[in-house]
């Protein structure tokens, strides 16, 4: 009975993950500029991949420890890498979409350069 | 099914090779070289060689591309264009 409940929980988690992965890919197509696409691609994909791996771990019990470790590692590294990408591309001169308001990072850069 | 996947991967690596031939920028050439390494590591997995696949993914696609980009940064500011 417990096995059955865990298995169906895993299936539901996998479906949630696939749905969020679909939303992420839709966002990459639809959103206007690099930063918005990066946000869609990272946020939706982090939740999608984490819930998919945990669901697979619940379905196949032998892999539960591995999938939990994988999920924790993804939760740690995926937002950091996305942050680094966005910051580096802003520094390299990629212009944000013209509706972006307020642009707080530009003010911070200006303050930093004034201090020097 | 595996034949379909491996055919797609072979098409991917050949396309990556052509990108690294015809691209004007050195940086995109190097990055497509990393893509070729990643595709080859996937093919190693389909060829029943998981050891080689792990090694190729860690070294060929990761460290090799990183060392290339570091060396390119060393010779030029930004290091994105060809030597003029």
């Amino acid at each position: 009975m417990v096995d059955l409940i865990l298995g169906w929980t895993g299936v539901v988690l996998v479906f949630i993950g696939v749905f969020f992965l679909f939303l992420g890919s839709l966002g990459v197509f639809r959103l206007p500029d690099l930063f918005n696409r990066l946000q869609a691609g990272t946020k939706a994909t982090t939740l999608g991949v984490v819930s998919t791996t945990i669901g697979v771990g619940l379905i196949a019990k032998g892999w539960l420890v591995f999938s939990l470790a994988l999920a924790i590692f993804l939760l740690m590294t995926n937002p950091i890498s996305s942050h680094a990408l966005g910051r580096a591309s802003y520094r390299a001169g990629v212009k944000p979409y013209k509706g972006t308001n307020p642009d707080l990072y530009a003010e911070k850069i200006k303050k930093e350069s004034d201090q020097k | 099914m595996i034949t379909l996947f491996s055919t797609l991967l072979v098409i991917l690596i050949v396309a990556g090779g052509f990108v690294s031939i015809f691209s004007k920028k050195l940086l995109s050439s190097v990055i497509s070289m990393g893509l070729v390494s990643l595709g080859v590591s996937g093919l190693f997995f389909f060829l029943q060689a998981p050891d080689v696949a792990i090694t190729e993914a860690a070294i060929g696609a990761g460290l090799s591309t990183a060392i290339f980009i570091i060396a390119m940064k060393k010779i030029q500011k930004g290091g994105t264009s060809d030597d003029e």
Binding site: - | I13, G17, L47, A49, T55
Partner: protein, 124 residues
């Protein structure tokens, strides 16, 4: 037809990589691009050697609880010897690439260019 394709798709891919790398080495004069071409040739030859070790019904050469390599006295795994050769060849490839890049950086600092022909003219 499927068996024909299964073996030949990998051979075709590896030889296409070797051809692409050779074309890059022959047509470019920038040292960095030549090193890129040599790296692609490296990948192609590794893929070729691993392909020789494989046949369509093979399993991976690791004993696990569900994966037995010897059935009825016949060895059904992929050949592990070429795989171990390739395993070491990849690491050596990284070492030689790093050495070549270091020498290229030194050449740039001395001559101010990476073009092979200009270096030749300055040397004369």
């Amino acid at each position: 037809m499927i068996d024909f394709l299964q073996n030949w798709i990998y051979l075709t891919g590896s030889m296409a990589l070797v051809g692409i790398g050779l074309y890059i080495v022959l047509t470019n004069t920038n040292i960095f691009r030549i090193i890129v071409g040599l790296n692609i040739i490296d990948s192609g030859t590794n893929l070729f050697i691993v392909t020789i070790a494989w046949h369509p019904k093979s399993v991976m050469p690791i004993y696990t609880a569900t994966n037995n390599l010897v059935v009825n006295g016949h060895v059904i795994s992929a050949d592990p010897l070429p795989q171990s050769l390739v395993l070491t060849a990849i690491v050596i490839g990284l070492g030689t690439t790093a050495l070549a890049l270091a020498i290229a950086v030194k050449i740039y600092q001395k001559y101010g260019t990476l073009d092979v022909r200009k270096i030749k003219e300055e040397d004369r």
